[in-house]
Amino acid sequence: MQKKVIYEIKSLYRDDFQVMGYEFGSGENSVCIVGNTRGNEIQQIYVCSQLVKRLKAMEEEGKISEGHKILVIPSINPYSVNIQKRFWTTDNTDINRMFPGYHLGETTQRIAAGVFEEIKDYRYGMQFTSFYMPGKFTPHVRMMKTGFEDIELAKKFGMPYIILRNTRPYDTTTLNYNWQIWETNAFSIYTTSTNSIDTASEKMAIRSVLTFMNKEGIVEYQGHDGYISSVVDDRDMISVRTKMSGIFEEIVGVGDEVEKGQPLANIINPYEGEIVETLEAPADSIVFFAHDEPITYANTAVYKLIVKKA
């Protein structure tokens, strides 16, 4: 294992801003794995830390194949984590909206450029990331329909789901999109949580990444193969939205199977305690995403369901 500074900025009063990378094996740039870009993505750092520990042991056992280099960057943004702020410390910009970056630009453009320079030539790119809304996910690999996406390759992770979604205007500035433009096979990997530690999905993520690398001949790993992934188009998922704002009382959680008409959650009047709305499953389905905050706004998609095929 080799530890190196990927990018660095001197600060006036804080310790230097450093993006640390951990290299395993040597040879061609095979796999790059990135953890958090935002300050609340703690699970994403945690997963990477566990992967670093695992790869270090595997390297010592000679289980990293000859001619392959793996780079793990647990955190592109330690500064925001340390002050518990989601976006960049001073100007609130999102590093994951700054790729491919610009060396002469603003601070977060420079960070994106400095990091991207080091990671753009890898064959496979994996990013542990999070959703813009608070909630828990069934673990999955998420791919944008850019025309470069390779679903068969994504199946090698053995994650329960592969989610396909259309690109949106801001996507052109994400790490995943730019990796693809630079001809890296890029995958966004979602585990269950973001701002809390979920060990079950962390273990699944580690197994999935190692399984993938084993199938591609990059490491030697004998785990069980995981799942035969279901491929789901994001547009085919059913969003269950609140009509009312209020206290959110969860009845079912992520991963649960529900029948048509089954109550999913109650919205409670915060002053009088009455149930003002009960959300129900519109079809027999599996809970793919579930809101996990104690309050909710009106019109919020608090559940995303995958409909069971008859």
């Binding site: 939205r241 704002s245 002053y271 706004y297």
Partner: protein, 315 residues
Amino acid sequence: MIETIASVGLPVGEVLEIKKNRVQPDSGSNKNGKRISIVTGIHGDELEGQYVCYELIRRINEQRDKLTGIVDIYPAMNPLGIDSITRGIPAFDLDMNRLFPGNEDGDMTEYLAAKIINDVEGSDVVIDIHASNIYLTEIPQIRINELHKEWLVPMAEKTNIDFIWVHGASTVLESTFAYSLNSRNTPTLVVEMGVGMRITKEYGNQLVDGIFNLMREMGIWQGQTISPRKPVISDNPDDVVYLNASKSGVFVPKVKHWEKLKKGECIGNIINPLEGSVLDEIISPIDGILFTIREYPIVSEGSLIGRLLREEVVR
């Protein structure tokens, strides 16, 4: 007449409402049917537009008989942000100016964006007033996407601003309020002036003078107006030079905003208060005029210190 254009119940005992004031002639007969909309507060920390809204209504009310069309004033597109000194939409941590045209069936933020577009669409002119951000002070200017240049520059020239900046198209900007309206044939001018969290009355008055001039040209104002100043127009990216901090420290300026500078002149220093040292001198790389200057002193490596317009463009 004050109307609510969108409302959503919040979780605990509060309703979020977005309001507008429709100012129109007292007797319906003298209307020419035209409408100007003044919009501000999409970014909750940008307050320059607050004074403009107030002053515009105040002056109209002084000479109400001169008004021959509709003036719609939307002072607070992001009321929760304005209230909490938050640039984006609080709780969602989203930039409201990346949500348009919105979606009536989407979440609260998308719903609000859709309601706003719905209400403003169809105006004969829309002016969306921004105030830079808390870091930079801007000379009164209008920014125009090059896609809409032919159409919007002649309107912008009537508004008494100092500078028209025609910038390149980018997919990221397709989700702005102005882009959404312009692509639906509702002409929308984006004003950037002053600085976040402050009101610069001088700039506000300058723009209000310009809005009256534009209203007069549209035929909805019959009162006296100023003749607008002639703005500098730039549509070449090479006209603008960016100055970014090479060191993290505290920026102390040596020159004033909108000042003509010679190549080699010192714009300011980045200092280290702990050591009592100068970390870097910011030197003007060209002859030009400083139309953007750093206001917030703390800088990190890369922070924007200023933008210069080349001397040749100004002349």
